[in-house]
Amino acid sequence: MTLKQQLRTVLIFTKLSTKRFFRDKLALFFGVLFPLIFLFVFGSMSKGNTDTNFRVAIFNQSKTQYSQQFTKQLTDSKTFKVQKDVRDMAAAKDKMAKSQLDGIIVLPEQFGTVDQAVNHPKGVVQVMYSQGNANTGQTLIAVLNGMVSGMNAHLLGAQPPLAVQPAPVNDHHLTAFDYTFAGLLGFSIIGIGIFGPINVFPELKKQGILRRLHTTPLRVWQYFMATMFSQALTGLVGVAAQFAVAIAVFKLNVAGNWFEIIAFTVLGIFMILGIGLAVGGWAKNERQAAPLANAVVFPMMFLSGTFFPRFLMPQWLQNVSDYLPLTPVIDGLRLLTTEGVHLINLGHQLLLIGIWTLVIYVIAFRVFRWE
């Protein structure tokens, strides 16, 4: 057979298995819908984190007009989420112990009584916070201090000699969602590239379907290549769906070039699929495939930044996870998508992906078994 004929075979296998994918509801669910569910869950979680706010309970023990004004101001403020369902102090402390409240604000009985001598209201705002969560407590106090100084200046009518002027700079700030999104793309690539083959191959072997193909002159590389192409095609559909939802629902701002994103995604799918081909191609049955796949997938899933960003890890762990196959894929996707970096500047990531692809496919070819 000439090379041209052999490549034609690859194209026909690609076409037919891509068609099969779109007829298979289960494959569609795991390839397209399942990652979207994750996107919604994690997307909603990280969306809430983007604007800082404090969950507080307010106890106004004062009857003065000013204390009521003050309470209203806190309630209306976006910085505070006042939990109105907390009825008494005991309930509030209990909630705070469970980290469901960031602080308790108490306006004592005397708060807001007007001092006749100077003719403006006086009072002390009491703030309680959990020592176990001192960081949040300190920030809460700082925010309240800022608020109170503003009010003081207003009441005293005087300009304080020293002041801080905040100036927000639009510097391509990465939101938590940007990290989450790249991680979730990585997760869906694992789903396509690893969980697909490790479930399908043992089944094909059990039924003798691969064996039957082996009685034909079909070569392993042709079969692998067809699988790579069709998985890349179907994988891109899943990834496109995630982009669509991320842009429409979670206001993802795509700074990069689409062509580069697609090309990079395909490289990532090729490499990760190699792991699936190696494990699924080696395993004689599901019992061999599942434990090995888990051993490979779980460390990668948690250390490469799929569900939580790697910068939260201790330095040594980051150093190790730098070299996992999925890490350059997720980092690269994030850099391309949200930071608008170009492929040409992703030398480090591309090199790692290239090396891993080579290593993985050499292994996959060596361990592949038709039955």
């Binding site: 004929q5 052999q6 034609r8 026909i12 037919l16 298979d24 039957r212 009685t215 034909t216 002159p217």
Partner: protein
């Protein structure tokens, strides 16, 4: 004298220090239907698999269409068609796509509908493989094995598990394929099948060929030894009754 298309010499396969196929030799002539018979575990399937390039050969040699099986497996695969014991296909794949796929595996481009017509599955061309009955699946499997016009066609227990109608239909199909000049080599445990289809049979037991000839001659040899079967005067058997009652037409 017709030419030899398959030559097996001292073929040996050893599993766990035990010879499963123990130095067997036989030739198959072009255009023959050759049967390998034997009880379970006799080594029939292993022999077939070695000829089909699917199992490494531990000893001896196989030449098929002038090609050495051990050193030229790719070339051998291109001239043989293989029907495995169980015909399985992937779900969600239409019959005409399955034919297209197998043709592609051989580097061929064919008209799938023609091949499906040949095995009476023309109407099912757009159906999924999982909707087929056992007999239909076997016929599809035969079609997939013939897409590249092989010179030798191997069938491993082709009628196991089929109903009498489907069996008869498959026999007709095998005869048709043979009539087109394809050499057929099959294994079976059904002796009526071997008697009806095969020009010659080899009987295997414990890895060795213990007899090889035409079915007629084998029977004659047995009778010459003085063998007497209990006399049956019936002119028909239960299968004849069954076919008479239910008809020869295919049910699927």
């Amino acid at each position: 004298m017709t030419e030899t298309i398959l030559e097996v010499k001292d073929l040996t396969k050893i599993y766990d220090d035990r010879p499963v196929v123990d130095g067997i030799s036989f030739n198959v002539k072009k255009g023959e239907v050759f049967g390998i018979l034997g009880p379970n575990g006799a080594g029939k399937t292993t022999t077939l698999e070695m000829i089909e390039t699917m199992r490494p050969i531990d000893g001896g040699s196989i030449t098929i269409c002038g090609l050495d099986v051990a050193s030229q497996p790719q070339e051998v695969k291109a001239v043989i068609g293989v029907q495995p014991q169980t015909a399985a296909f992937q779900d969600k794949q239409k019959l005409h796509e399955i034919i297209e796929m197998f043709a592609a595996a051989y580097g061929e481009k064919v008209n799938p509908w023609e091949f499906l017509e040949d095995v009476q599955l023309g109407e099912k061309a757009g159906a999924y493989a999982e909707s087929l009955s056992g007999g239909q699946r076997q016929r599809l499997s035969i079609a997939t094995a013939l897409v590249h016009s092989p010179k030798v066609f191997f069938l491993d227990e082709p009628t196991t598990g089929l109903d009498p109608q489907a069996r008869r239909n498959l026999w007709d199909l095998i005869k048709e394929v043979n009539a087109r000049g394809v050499t057929v080599i099959l294994t079976t445990h059904y002796l009526d099948e071997a008697e009806l289809l095969c020009d010659r049979v080899a009987i295997m037991d414990r890895g060795k060929i213990i007899a090889m000839d035409t079915p007629k001659k084998l029977i004659k040899q047995l009778l010459d030894k003085g063998f007497k079967k209990e006399q049956h005067v019936e002119q028909a058997n239960l299968e004849d009754v069954f076919i008479d009652l239910t008809g020869k037409g295919l049910r699927d």
